[in-house]
């Protein structure tokens, strides 16, 4: 490079004049979608080898290619009265997606370049490699130092989510019939306006090959389902109650074991009770949070705060930074001694679990908080060295073939108490408080300090006993204050593996799914608001 970075920057002020620059790939070397050919599965390895060879010849010092197929299915059934006749209408909706494509990532001249395409052909792969290398070379003069990657092994291996019953093999008709039975049960309860049943499936078939020698095939399957009852007082109030078995990396067996039939009527009755429940009296109260609720609190306050890319300022323009700066690693107290939290991508049935990440790093478990002290970051290969670490913790993921892989949250879970503490034990220690189950509204600042969470349902605790239902509850706190106020956790028998989907991050935004296993937990003297 002829110019230093400073000289280059100094000449960029009048950049507009240079913007007439041409696109990299002339149209004639692009393949028209109308000329596409079907790609047999055995050609995938051949195309990957071709891409890596082309990248090397173009001067890339590193290259990887992901050739991925995604399938999703969303089946919903909404049951509500006809506006005119009042008769019960069951309204089905079925959407399936099936997408296939590849993404090539290179390091050339010390900078990253990426190109992803939906057409998987030799010509398209060649064009994409050329494009990715040209993007890297365009950006190289701006890099302060060349991209560095943490060491990684070379793997030729495969991983598959253990699935007992393929959820895509259960017919759409059977799924709708299943939801119709549940919705009808909900609608038997007077004052229920509508019932909604949802089944959502995702399968990612990923092939990864890198210039460092890995050839990895993976198939990851996610199954989720939920059932919601809604009660409406026209023009005044709407209250819903949801039964949501934890979304899992597993098959249809997860829906069957959820015993939906035992819960349909219960959630209908609780939705009606919620509509009639008195508003909470705001003030300082103790909280007992069920796993179905606490999982999201863990996600927002402890999951996002331990992302290294946020700590480095890489997400400052949208997702934000974090209060857990590198100088606090190994020293800063976030929680009480009870708070032991791990990151992992290996725990069975957890949504982030797979064999290797999108950097080709073997997945594993690692600590984030030990006895309340901040003890680790979620990392990827090009950032580990920035905090003096030699290996990545395997948290790289892209949500599509067309997305750039970057640091995403793994499963982040809270260890249970070592003693056999029950939910009743936690509640019995509360004189005046609230028991919260399920997800409501949630919001947290861009450095992960100030949060405010609602819930799906709330019960008053008085004198160590769970009493009447309350409405319009939210609690507001600061992450370290809140977790240091944690003085009780349930034991192993109370621990649940809470799955969370649709976590957004990045520019352009990508989605991610992970699990936040936890026991029920007790927090002392938290600020409770009324959100009427």
């Amino acid at each position: 490079m002829g110019r230093t970075r400073r000289e280059f920057l100094a000449t960029c002020g009048a950049g507009a004049a240079l913007w007439a620059g041409s696109r990299l790939i002339p149209r004639e070397i692009l393949v028209s979608p109308l000329e596409a050919e079907e790609i047999p599965p055995d050609r995938v390895r051949e195309l990957a080898a071709f891409a890596l060879d082309r990248a090397k010849k173009a001067g890339a010092t590193y290259a990887d290619i992901r050739i991925n197929r995604y399938r999703t299915q969303l089946v919903t059934l909404r049951s509500q009265p006809d506006f005119a006749s009042g008769a019960l209408n069951h309204v089905p909706s079925i959407n399936e997606t099936g997408t296939f494509g590849f993404g090539v990532r290179v390091i050339a001249a010390g900078a990253w370049g990426f190109s992803g395409r939906h057409l998987v052909t030799k010509d398209a792969v060649a064009a994409a490699v050329k494009e990715a290398v040209a993007i890297a070379r365009a950006d190289a003069p701006l890099r302060r130092e060349p991209v560095r990657l943490a060491k990684v092994g070379a793997f030729t291996d495969a991983y598959r989510t253990p699935v007992k019953q393929d959820p895509f093999a259960v017919t759409v008709g059977d799924k709708l019939e299943f939801l119709r039975g549940l919705n009808s049960e909900i609608k038997k309860v007077d004052e229920i306006f509508s019932a909604n049943g949802t089944i959502a499936l995702r399968r990612e078939s990923r092939f990864f090959a890198s210039s460092e020698g890995s050839r990895i095939e993976q198939e990851v399957v996610h199954t989720s389902s939920e059932l919601t009852a809604t009660a409406v007082e026209k023009g005044r109030k709407t209250k819903s109650r949801t039964y949501r078995p934890h979304a899992v990396a597993a098959g249809w067996e997860a829906v069957e074991r959820a015993r939906y039939a035992d819960h349909a009527r219960r959630i209908a009755e609780e939705a009606v009770a919620h509509l009639k429940a008195p508003s909470v009296d705001p003030g300082t109260k103790d909280l007992v949070l069920m796993p179905s609720h606490l999982g999201l609190t863990i996600h927002e306050s402890l999951g996002h705060s331990t992302e290294l890319d946020r700590a480095l300022g890489y997400e400052a323009d949208l997702a934000g930074t974090t209060f857990l700066t590198p100088d606090k690693l190994g020293k800063f107290r976030v929680g009480s001694d009870l708070v032991n939290v791990n990151g992992d991508r290996v725990r069975p049935e957890s949504l982030s679990t797979c064999g290797w990440d999108d950097d080709g790093v073997k997945t594993r478990q690692f600590p984030l908080f030990k006895k309340g002290i901040f003890s680790g970051y979620q990392t990827i290969r090009d950032q580990a060295h920035l905090i003096g670490q030699e290996e990545s913790t395997g948290c790289c993921y892209a949500d599509s073939y067309a997305s750039v892989p970057f640091q995403r949250m793994p499963n982040v879970w809270l260890e249970p108490a070592q003693e056999p503490v029950s939910l009743d034990d936690l509640v019995s220690g509360v004189d005046e408080g609230i028991l919260i189950d399920g997800r409501g509204s949630w919001s947290i600042d861009q450095q992960r300090y100030n949060f405010q969470f609602g819930g799906d349902v709330f019960w008053e605790i008085k004198g160590g006993k769970v009493g009447r239902m309350l409405a319009d509850v939210a609690y507001q706190s600061r992450t370290p204050d809140f977790w240091q106020a944690c003085d009780g956790l349930g034991g192993d028998a109370t621990w649940e593996n809470v799955g969370l989907q649709n976590d957004g991050k990045g520019q352009p935004q990508q989605v991610n799914a992970m699990s936040h296993g936890c026991p029920p937990a007790r927090f002392r003297r938290v600020n409770v608001l009324r959100t009427e």
Binding site: G15, A16, L18, W19, A20, S22, R23, L24, R27, L30, S32, P33, L34, E38, F83, V91, P92, S93, N95, E96, G98, T99, G103, A111, W112, S115, G116, H118, L119, I135, A138, D139, P141, T171, V172, L176, N196, K234, G235, T238, G313, Y314, A316, D317, L318, G320, S400, A402, S441, W442, S443, I444, D445, Q446, Q447, N450, Q452, Q476, P508, T531
Partner: protein, 456 residues
Amino acid sequence: MATLTAKEARALADRILSFSRVEECEVTIEARESAHTRFAASDVTTAGIATTLALTITSRKRGKSGTVQVSETDPASLERAVRRSEEILGLAPESPEWVEELGPQTYPAIEAFDAATAAAGPEMRRDGAAAAIEAARGASLAASGFFSTDITSSAIANRKGLFGFQRATEASFSTTMRTPDGTGSGWAGRTATRLADLKTGEIAATAAKKALASAKPKDLEPGRYTVLLEPQAVADLLGTMIGGLQARAADEGRSVFSKPGGGNRVGEKVFAEMVTLRSDPFDARVPGRPWIVPLGFGGGGGGAFGAGAQNQGLPAARVTWVEKGTLRNLSVDRYWARKTNAPPVPYPGSLILEGGSGTLDDLVASCTRGLIVTRFWYIRTLNPQTLQQTGLTRDGVWLVEKGKIVAPVNNFRFNDGPATLLRNVEAMSASVRAGRMVVPAVRARDFNMASRSDAV
């Protein structure tokens, strides 16, 4: 540029429709080329380009429907996709809310394409990043940000001969700059059809100025304040209003525009006299599609409570939602139109809040005491029947006293919302594009800043 031409889109749609064996089959095509450069910690981080294609095929027969979305375009894959949509249709029960497929439509021409934006390469995006990095360095700040250029070719077609095509460009640049001591952060950004309208240097200078001016904020207690919301903050708050403007939700008693006991509030005064809220797909500042596109993934039943899916393919039209504070229209999908004997009304693709004149500076000059808010973050609805929300201020809040900015102050969490904001509005500047909206800066009284936020 590399996205589909009208001729290619029509050929692709015709090929898909040729495989159809049922009465009704509709295809939408979205071919997109999205290129971006990210920068952070005053360095370029990642950059890339993604060429994607989404072909959405819906087969329908007497109230039953099946929808699949695919990306592969070889004939065997396309035929499989059509067969799968028909297979799903065969397994689904009839939807009581079905509407018949549209016949041929006449779509207006909406200019949304800029050749210079489509021709932009990675060097141009790098230079934009470099300008921000340089501006930050000159002020001892750390810059992060995002520069993207997109080209989208969209088409809609069905077996009855309906066809529409549009090619559009969009360029977006945003940057956040932070002071080294971590006490100051400033954001600025813009989205436009034409790259030339972004003015990246101006955006970088604004972000730098805000970062410096927000450093070492003064402690201010939570409470009710007059707020001076910059256009981005107004757009952030109005985001949930888009979903709230539905006749069905109002008629069913589930919305802020429901009457207690039943019916909707069309014809009632709902906001301050100066509030006029409308949608205009022909407005060059934020051009829309020539046809209606539903929110989310269109399909047979329209999701949880329907989101205008049945209006897909109707010609785009201007709608006035609120005129001088009075609710004039709510969106009505074709099913709800049949149920309530009303004409269909398009779902708002974006909102235009009619402004006044002048700029934020004029609103400041006439303010006795208030808070300037740059933008909001992490907004969630607490109550759909009041549109009460919670969220946080971010990237620059300042206290105004007697017409002058006196000090930067800490961030806040608010518990308030767009419905109360539009009732309490006192003055508005001229409107400008902010994200997908066109809105003014707004001064409004009694905004509830509920707690302090330590975040910067």
